[in-house]
């Protein structure tokens, strides 16, 4: 019996985005990343080969965040004392891209300053040639102040600035426009809110090829099904021809998973949860892999063992299966 395989036909294409400027473009990056370009649902390679593989980023910070799990502290240990060292260690652990998180305050509780933010960014840019994303601490005024300085200092490197949200995007987009950078647009698990934010940002004349969208996902056990379905719906809408949703997606399973009790905490938890370290790694990988299968183009992770496992999963998804 010859089974005829039904193939979807779509009209839309996900935009292709390339980040990171190497010497030929006047930057100092030693590699770039290119994501997007799909014309099919994720990894439907019997319809068309997947043009670009999903990228794995490691998230680091300008100083080790006090609310991160002791397991992460234990792993990164001394490297985490310096953002440059941390970035190098992340590259050695298999990161293809770095996400640098700027803190709200310094060790003594004083507000972070543009000078410190720039210094941390420069250290990372000097320590590694990987493409860089820089995220503010998540408070509008501070984000704007720090990211403006960072955008200026990193001019020519084609980094991405985050995070644009509907309540705070103008300054960040302006900083990206002025310095030839990219932005990350985050909306809270809603197809229409994601789309709307993309429209608002592109209304400021930032080309769509410089926007990555973060649909927000939730962690395994803490709402991942919402994020998962929103991503599937965004991707379907894009392939149906809605260009305002046809952007590569960046998701943060490291952030999501490591704030859950299951990953973060090892004491006073039910015995049925099993070994802490392995559970934490599985929590991170089992948050990441379903998101990759629902359309993530960049996954931001925190633990190197997860990086290794998710890479193997992506390797297998990118291999074109021999169906004969």
């Amino acid at each position: 019996m010859t089974v005829e395989i039904p193939k979807d036909s779509w009209t839309g294409t996900i935009r292709t985005i390339t980040l990171g400027a190497m010497a030929d473009e006047g930057g100092t990056r030693t590699s770039k990343i290119t994501v997007g370009g799909q014309k099919t649902l994720p990894f439907m390679q019997f319809e068309q080969a997947t043009p670009n593989r999903p990228v794995i980023a490691i998230e680091i910070a300008d100083r080790f965040p006090s609310d991160w799990s002791p397991l992460l502290q234990e792993f990164w240990a001394d490297a985490a004392k310096d953002p440059g060292e941390w970035a190098k260690a992340a590259e050695a652990a298999g990161a293809e891209m770095i996400v640098l998180l700027l803190s709200l305050t310094d060790e003594d509780g004083n507000p972070n300053t543009p000078e410190r933010a720039v210094a941390a960014t420069k250290k990372v840019l000097e320590a590694t040639g990987l493409p860089l994303f820089v995220y503010g601490p998540g408070q509008a005024e501070v984000d704007n102040e720090l990211l403006l300085a960072v955008a200026d200092a990193a001019k020519g490197e084609k980094i991405a600035l985050g995070i644009c949200e509907d309540k705070n995007y103008r300054t960040i987009v302006a900083a990206a426009l002025a310095n030839d950078h990219f932005v990350v647009a985050r909306a809270p698990m809603d197809v229409n809110l994601s789309k709307q934010l993309n429209i608002l940002i592109s209304d400021m004349k930032l080309p769509m090829e410089r926007i990555l969208m973060d649909p927000t996902t939730g962690a395994l056990g803490y709402g991942i099904e919402y994020g998962y379905s929103v991503m599937e719906r965004l991707r379907i809408a894009a392939l149906q021809g809605d260009s305002m949703t046809g952007l590569p997606m960046i998701v943060t399973p490291g952030f999501e998973a490591w704030k859950t009790k299951e990953a973060k905490v090892g004491h006073d938890v039910p015995e049925e949860w099993g070994d802490w370290q392995e559970r934490a790694i599985i929590w991170e990988t089992l948050t990441a892999v379903p998101l990759v299968e629902s359309g993530a183009d960049i996954v931001v992770l925190r633990h190197p063992e997860s990086v290794k496992r998710v890479r193997k999963a992506i390797d297998e998804l990118m291999t074109i299966p021999e169906m004969a």
Partner: protein, 447 residues
Amino acid sequence: MALSGIQIYKLLPQTNCKDCGFPTCLAFAMKLAAKQVELASCPHISEEASEQLSAASQPPVRLVALRANGNEVKAGNEVVMFRHEKTFYNKPGLFLRFRDNENLDDIKQRVQKADAYTVNYVGIDLQLDGFAVEAASQDASKFEEVVHTVREHTHRPMILITDNPEIAGAGLRAIDGEYPLLHGATPENWQGMVEAAKQHEAALAVTGKTLDELADLTAKVKESGLDDIVLDPMADNLGMSLTKNTQIRRLALKKNFRPLGYPIITFPGNAPDAGHEAILAAHAIAKYAGFIVLDHFKPEMIYPLLVLRENIYTDPQKPIQVQPGVYELNDPKPESPVLVTTNFSITYFSVANEVESSGLPAWLLVTDAEGMSVLTAWAAGKFDAERIAKAVKEFDLVSKVTSKRIVLPGHVAVLSGELEEELPGWEVRVGPREAVDLPSFMKQVLT
């Protein structure tokens, strides 16, 4: 594929005789299309029309239920490719595999441990669904003995794995009277396997390296009178599995292709290590498997898989909610603080679990946010100062507390000013963003 009322009407006698209890044949057809009446209510239906109608009313993915001692594991009956289109119905069964050449005492202990395993997630007790035994020894009596031993230590449904019909018969004998799954039929052995499955009453898994091969074999098996078929597409990596499982589901749903309209079985346990096994199993849960056979039983792996299965199979139309109201955590006193959150079940359980395990007393005010989490509800305008103040009044907190301290989730710190205006006389505090940080906040800031 489901027929429309009009399509059904064309197959009816069209005499409007009313013997079915409906005024016209068309009215009856509409009820049939809506699956509100049985075709048997029409006494005049022709045999040919009846056949066509019953074929059309079959689900695109056949429901296969394995049974033992009152336990049941069902797979199939799915109607969509993506959960947001409707929902996924039958959670895939998670099975743990043993090989009959392993140490018998060791098997006993591991079965007991896995069988007794229960883990609580948002108020639901989650467990493994069953056990699989593989005849690695190629020895019928050995297989029978091990199947028997496993059965002595669990009441859950079983999957027996061998490609030898005689050995299959021996294993099935050990659990006669149950309804297990026999794995698996190949182009070489299928007649013997069908016979064994029929004789002992078992569902049969059919293996095939290609979909062509699979479809050929299911057609033969069905023709020989066995209906409960399960597909093993023999995909040994993620890309292959995603491709084949998607193609099978598409063929069943979109083309009503009967030879592949069956649930799928996968073997993540074939992975070289447990880390990758967990990933393959997670993929199988999200992407269309009906039975999932694991080799490792480790709580730190089973728990996340069981949770993922709950998540993916949650009905997207109905977020799991808890009742809005005031919940008492650790016998709160009038001077204990009031914590506020939304009625999304995961949000509620995260907060309640943290506070309960800390032993610190508090009143937990759960507002009606239509089942959304704090940030989502806030973005959607379902969790604001006005609604919180309304809930404070509605649930009459003033009669319960003397020190009027109310703690907002850190994610909605922006609401604190408005809430102070809405609740004169109350002290509004901003708590941590994540529930996990609540106990230390309560210890440091509230005492």
